[in-house]
Amino acid sequence: MSGLGDLEREVMAQLWDAGEPLTVRQVHERLDPARGLAYTTVMTVLDRLAKKGVVTQQKADRAYRYAATQTREEMTAALMFDALSAAPDGAARDAALAHFVGRVGPDGAAALAAALKAAAGDR
């Protein structure tokens, strides 16, 4: 994975673990200070994540704070549901992803959604 990709994952992990919106400085401090990461780099990464829609930017007390738009569990559930359920239009086979074994049918998708929701609620 590229260096920026690694950093994106680590920044997301900090936001998820914090459980509250963080400023760029707070994220910067929480990442390993020993590796000499520039403040502006962290800002760039947060900006990229915001553009991709996985992070929101909120203004509070004259400072921008960043938060993940979904919890880790919600995002995992959303990804799995999208991966495992049938193609959105159903008419044609979806060519976007290839599964090791067949996808989940319409009935299965409903059951799966319920199971994922229950699992997310368990935490």
Binding site: M1, A95, A98, G108
Partner: protein, 298 residues
């Protein structure tokens, strides 16, 4: 006459051939050649449609001895309809490719962010969660996504077989083949199209990836992985009917004593695929072109 023959051939290729070809058992012994055969049948059907559109007006004009102006009008109309067919196909290819790329980009992003293995591998991503599944996100920057559940259910050999299967999909760009068939399916008007090629090619590509995986890791681990990942998950019976049938078909190919791939059969299928594309052109289109060149007001 040319238009009638091309029309009959086109309808045969698009409506009559797919059913028996999809049900044929010998395709299991030559999956790669059969994918090429499906491509040849599909492409030949499109060429037949174009041939009908171009030849029919010319033949009508010639049969009725119409005048020059009418001939020009018929030529323009024929070229217009042919252009519509081609553009419709290209637009469909573009749309399918675009939608796939958007969905893949989203999957790649989320899988990278959620990866529980901290990017140890360039391609493989592991997601939290007990539900066992494995899939790949094709493209120029591909990913293979596994769940923790998969790693719990499968042993090392079986995981290696699954990864080899997915890597075969990715390196052979099976997604491009699947996209092209999906695009053709969407572009063809409803009464003329058949789902059979789509489903048949899908399972043949799975067979090709299975063959790549078993060459490296043997039949056993792959078969066990297919059994473990495809069955009911806990008390959830998730597998739809056609997926269950596909899995049985793949398990049968991997069973001890099942016939392997057959090089001679493959060669014969390749020859038929080439003939389907070449023969109609040589026997029907070239003689017609020869006649038409004298008739068309060029």
């Amino acid at each position: 006459m040319t238009a009638l023959l091309l029309g009959a051939l086109g309808l045969t290729l698009s409506l009559i051939v797919p059913g028996p070809l999809a049900r044929a058992r010998w395709t299991a012994r030559a999956p790669g050649a059969t994918v090429v055969l499906w491509q040849s049948v599909t492409l030949a059907a499109v060429l037949c449609a174009l041939g009908v559109v171009l030849a029919a007006p010319e033949e009508l004009v010639r049969a009725h001895g119409a005048d020059q102006t009418f001939g020009v009008a018929a030529l323009v109309a024929a070229l217009g309809v042919a252009a519509v067919i081609v553009v419709r196909l290209l637009v469909s290819v573009g749309l399918v490719a675009y939608r796939s790329r958007v969905r893949r980009a989203r999957h790649r992003l989320l899988a990278d962010l959620l990866d529980a293995h901290a990017g140890l591998d360039d391609v493989v991503r592991v997601l939290d969660g007990g539900l066992p599944f494995a899939y790949c996100v094709p493209g120029r920057s591909p990913r293979i996504v596994l769940s923790q559940g998969t790693l719990r259910v499968l042993d090392t050999q079986q995981v290696a077989a699954v990864l080899a299967h997915e890597r075969a999909h990715l390196s052979a760009r099976h997604d491009v083949v699947m996209e092209s068939f999906t695009a053709f399916y969407r572009a063809v008007p409803a009464p003329l199209r058949s789902r059979a090629p789509l489903d048949a090619v899908h399972i043949l590509l799975e067979a090709l990836a299975d063959d790549a995986a078993r060459r490296r890791h043997g039949n056993g681990p792959l078969r066990e992985a297919l059994q473990a990942l495809g069955g009911p998950v806990g008390d959830l019976e998730l597998e739809p009917h056609d997926a269950a049938r596909e899995r049985r078909w793949r398990l049968d190919r991997l069973a001890p004593g099942a016939p392997g791939t057959d090089a001679r059969l493959s060669a014969a299928i390749y020859a038929v695929a080439a003939a389907i594309l070449v023969l109609p052109t040589v026997l029907l289109v070239v003689p017609w072109l020869d006649r038409a060149m004298h008739t068309w007001p060029l």
